[in-house]
Amino acid sequence: MIKLPQLPDPVANLIRAHDGPLTRQLLQSPGGFGLGKVPDHIKPDATTTMVCGFCSTGCGLNIHLQNGEAVNLTPDTNYPVNLGMACPKGWEALAVLDAPDRATTPMIRRNGRLEPVDWDTALKHFVERFGEVMAKHGPESVAFLSTGQIPTEEMVMLGALAKFGMGMIHGDGNTRQCMATAATAYKQSFGFDAPPYTYKDFEESDVMMFVGANPCIAHPIMWERVLKNPYDPTIIVVDPRKTETAMCATHHLPIAPKSDLTLFYGLAHLLISRGLINSGYITAHTTGFDAFAEHVAEYTPDIVAAKTGIDEATLRRVARAIGEGERVSIWWTMGVNQSYEGTRVAQALINLALMTGNMGRPGTGANSITGQCNAMGSRLFSNTTNLLGHHDFTSAMDRAKVAGVLGIPASRIPSVNSLAYDQIIEGIALDKIKGLWVIATNTSHSWINQKHARSVLDKLDFLVVQDMYHTTDTAKQAHLVLPAAAWGEKEGTFINSERRIGLIKKVRKAPGQALADFHIFKLIAHYWGCGAMFEKWKTPEDVFQTMKELSRGQTCDITGILDYAMLDRAGGIQWPYPESMTPKSEYDAGTGRVHTQAFEAIYTERRLFEDGVYPHADGRAKFIFEAPRPMPEQPDATYPMILLTGRGTASQWHTQTRTGKSAVLRKLYPQGIYIEINPVDARRLEIQHEKPVVVESRRGRITAKAFLTASVREGQVFIPMHYDTANLLTSSSFDPYSRQPNYKACAVSVRPVRYGDMDGQEASR
């Protein structure tokens, strides 16, 4: 060791610097507000909590503020959803707000290019063009596509403005792509779109079955709750792929794609034949069991084994686990919902829960895990499939009730149902719909059979895209782009998977002239000439007060939530929350009393149907079933493989519109599209690790990098949906009840890239 002589400090520091400006850049200091140490340069002077704006888990985030603006965030330690944790998307939620391609002014397409204009010009353009189309072709010639990504208050405004103000008949949302099946299944089975569970159920089950769900990747914080389960639960995973979740399972059932309905009827058959059903519950709380039992009688283990590829012994083991479990919960997500017969599959799962009496108790339930942060808000308040507040457009009584709450003539409310998303797209294709208003979604990337979808959008006389970025695939096709403020730049509420209403707050300034959708809708109403209708909604919280009235007497009654401040104090509140539940202390909150411990203990985690009474008129849940149908597109000699799609990583969200804007998130997932293929198939097809392959379906051809893994079975391949070419392959087929697209299975061929393949325009896009 070279011993330096004792030198004066500046000299010693010059030769070996232990401290200095660079070192101090990483200095940490106590953050206060219960935070622990934080980077010194972004030490907060205040904090506030709000819910995350990516997925439906609805995690609480603690926003670190300096001079009122967010500088950093950490997961909210006390929020009952996420217990101090967040996935990478949540951690990076602020970073994506700073992207250079944020829409900062309205833009009108002139000479093929989007050019910035002021709001007055844009709004006049909006009402003129939509006005022209509607005047010429009637109210059914325009439509809107809403989203599960904006606060419920804004959904209410959009739905009311478009249908009651502007006179549109048709409007749907991107929730059609994720939750329509679950909503339809619940509505038919229970009488109301009511996911019955609370996240605590993850911790209280002794048997859990995940169907078409990969929470490890898609809902990491829900998986956190599963791992907190102290009962060493039996975990059954039904998924054609050996997903991360399947790898943690006690039993993984890698069923043949789309043999799920057969599987669950087969399990029902086994449960009945072994007497592992709860007859008391069936008799007291359900209808239609006998017909169902008769229906499943033919689903004997040998038949089911042949169809699903799961051996009889495993079927029996799984049936026994479900039948003998004390607290069995069944969880599903897109693997069920995004299917041509998803509604019946979801109901097959509901049937399993009903027949074993696994409803309304801790750790039970037939539970749909939602996708988007506010898909659940959309299901109740988007005014698309349902009239505001889960009412019925075709019911005069419901129309009168809603008209009364809004203070508008009932005649303003359409008495017919809206077209669904796919029907709107086909309406455009058939020249029936000529104007479309797309809010916070990315049809050109996410809609099934993408080439068709894009060409259809190109046919429109007028396409308006309202989004936080002007660079989405859909915005690139728009005639008018309206710049929207994002999550974190406005107020409102989201409803998460477990029906918890959580608050979002304004903690960042929106860039340039971007405005909250709330403001945009108010302005459009004014320019359209129906501003008076929305006069009383001065703030999103005013809309929230209207939502309460709309929910009065419904299964989703939230009249007991006084205001945003109460939501903030309570850490979110699950619906239903009727007036009768409001604790006395809440009424005193204005005078300085804070909520009591008892409030938290009683109200933070609640589940539905504890009394076995369902929203159907007779108070009973229905057994609904139907014979399985074959997959719409079967593999054949030309397209011999089945393409599965799904989520790639926890760091990617849907079309990557936002997650692609964070440099850190981008590091955490593969940048280019890749295809998972079984090594046996790869060997046969002479496909090598990491080499590009051509994937082709009847609708399109793409190139992707090969990732060889036995997690996909032979004859199947998997492509993550986040990459913009994935939907060039998928095929337009839909569930007849929910109209949800069948994203998960279509026929493709795969081969190595040959010389000249890269020149293809689709392949290189």
């Binding site: 232990h18 009402v127 990491p220 707050k505 304004k506 955490l668």
Partner: protein, 561 residues
């Protein structure tokens, strides 16, 4: 309510737009909702990480270490983002990585995510390699800390670390890395990653260094990680399962060219050319001797000095903070980079003195020779240190037998044409010298020597392609794949230029010697020699570019590329 199409003209929406924009700009969350109350000194999150920290600090022979429960990690990567946010890192900067291992039997495939940051090694290679001692291993906690203000941005630690831990921050001109959140640990708080893992898969524990040494005897940290014997990494990856033998990193078959480090490419080739030119001169002095050599001495020594100066200037361009390069001597005891800098520092001074004396004191022949020999010795030591710098990173392609051979061969492959060229240049200065005279005396000899060394060097370099036949995907096989795939153009150019400059042109000159019927004019010979020098220089720059880009650097398992 369908609007008539002509109704817009009467709308006055401007006040409403202004109101909306005004409202949008007002920040209200604080006054409406912020939590004004401070929760005291204990962080709220403490309830989740309390059990993930050791009960007592390390004793003698012990240190802190990360422990990762592979069975609990679901691959969400929250640890990476938490580290980024809670350390206040730059926009694109991350200190933690999560890779993926793939394998298992067909019916029971395994995807195992692997999170890693600094392994706070018992013998940190980053620290040993640092020329300015910008690393410290805390004597109590064992945490390997980087002294940001001491760093000169040479990035040698990036090459030294077999786990890709130190991350170069170009904007700041320094390297930064994980310090196990030592500021947090000091006050009993958990590191960011530990606090943030939803599944409690990362914890801090106290390990016995002796245990680390023992467990580094055979098994690597996880499949695909570097041989632990090099640095003795302290992280423990635990699992209750038996990991399948065929588990491989998801990026195992992906090969990607590494960073080219252009200033280093130039610096290495030019220092070697400079030392080589002086060496050749002194060899000639031994073999042919005589006054003819003395006549070329001034211009030769000056040229060599110029090449060396250019090389050293280029090397400083590689540094993020060259103004602190003077600190480089303090790492002499452990760092080959430090030694190289000192050796080449000596070389530069001796070469300069040699050139000055040769120009201005032409009669001091003895002093000239002494200075020249001194410069050659210092230069050869420097070139050896250069080779050791790369050998010391334990990368197969940079092994001393490969690197040393290449570097010393470059001395000759460029040194010979450089000596020839300076000899020719001398004919322009000194009217008594003729081209043919020099060619006869040593020119043809040098041409022959050049053909021999160039051929040998090219053949030696070509042996790398034999690795293409390896059954295993060894680092050398990957290097060969890179050179024949992504870097194929460079490879072809390198061999073409090398053949042309090192074999064909000197060959043509030799044929001229053997065949008296044809005789090149002096101008042709001078031009041919000039061309040889340029071609060989460019060829060696190509070789050195591949030296950096085709090397396979050890890393923790990566994800799907």
């Amino acid at each position: 309510m369908i609007r008539p199409a002509n109704a817009t003209l009467t709308i006055d929406g401007l006040p409403l737009i202004d109101e909306a924009l005004d409202e949008q700009g007002r920040m209200t969350a604080v006054e409406r909702f912020s939590k004004a109350h401070d929760h005291g000194s204990t962080p709220m999150q403490e309830r989740y990480y309390r059990d993930l920290l050791p009960a007592s600090p390390p004793g003698p022979g012990q240190q802190y270490a990360f422990e990762v429960d592979l069975d609990a990690c679901s691959g969400c990567k929250a640890c990476v983002t938490a580290c980024h946010n809670l350390n206040g890192l730059d926009e694109t900067e991350t200190w933690r990585d999560v890779g993926l291992l793939v394998g298992g039997p067909m019916d029971e495939p395994v995807h195992q995510h692997v999170t890693s940051a600094c392994h706070h090694c018992v013998e940190p290679a980053c620290m040993d390699g640092c020329p300015v001692k910008a690393y410290e291993k805390d004597p109590v906690t064992g945490i390997v800390r980087h002294l940001d203000d001491q760093c000169i941005g040479c990035q040698y630690c990036v090459l030294k670390c077999p786990y890709d831990v130190p991350k170069y921050n170009k904007a700041k001109g320094i390297v930064r890395k994980c310090d196990m959140c030592s500021q947090r640990l000091e006050v009993g708080e958990a590191p960011a990653c530990v606090q943030a893992c939803p599944n409690e898969a990362i914890r801090i524990r106290v390990v016995d260094k002796q245990e680390v040494i023992e467990s580094s005897e055979y098994a690597s940290l996880v499949p695909g990680a570097a041989d632990p014997d090099y640095t003795l990494p302290t992280t423990t990856y635990k699992t209750d399962r038996v990991l399948p033998r065929n588990l491989l990193p998801a990026n195992y078959y992906a090969v990607k060219p590494e960073h080219a480090h252009f200033p280093l490419v130039v610096m290495l080739v030019l220092t070697q050319a400079s030392v080589g030119a002086l060496l050749i001169e002194h060899i000639l002095r031994l073999i042919v001797g005589g006054s003819l050599l003395d006549a070329i001495r001034p211009i030769h020594s000056a040229s060599a000095m110029a090449l060396g100066g250019l090389a050293l200037a280029s090397s400083t361009m590689h540094l993020g903070r060259p103004m602190y390069a003077f600190r480089a001597f303090i790492g002499l005891r452990t760092s080959w980079l430090s030694r190289e800098i000192v050796a080449f520092g000596g070389f530069a001074k001796l070469a300069a003195a040699y050139a000055l004396v040769s120009w201005f004191l032409p009669d001091w022949v003895g002093v000239q020779t002494a200075l020249g020999i001194g410069a050659v010795i210092a230069g050869i030591v420097g070139v050896f240190c250069s080779a050791m710098i790369y050998h010391d990173t334990r990368r197969a392609f940079w092994n001393i037998s490969m690197t040393g051979t290449k570097f010393f061969a470059t001395m000759l492959v460029v040194g010979i044409p450089a000596a020839l060229a300076t000899s020719m240049a001398a004919t322009f200065v000194d009217p008594d010298l003729t081209v043919q005279q020099i060619m006869d005396k040593w020119g043809y000899g040098l041409c022959g020597s050049l053909i021999v060394v160039s051929t040998l060097k090219l053949m030696f370099e070509a042996t790398v392609f034999m690795n293409l036949k390896d059954r295993r995907h060894t680092p050398m096989k990957r290097t060969a794949i890179l050179m024949t795939d992504a870097l194929l153009g460079v490879t072809l150019r390198r061999f073409a230029l090398g053949l042309l400059g090192g074999v064909v042109i000197p060959g043509v000159l030799l044929i001229d010697l053997l065949n008296p019927a044809t005789s090149f004019s002096p101008t042709t010979i001078v031009a041919a020699i000039g061309l040889t020098l340029v071609l060989n220089l460019v060829a060696e720059l190509h070789e050195r570019y591949q030296f950096f880009t085709a090397v396979i650097s050890p890393k923790m398992p990566g994800g799907v590329m």
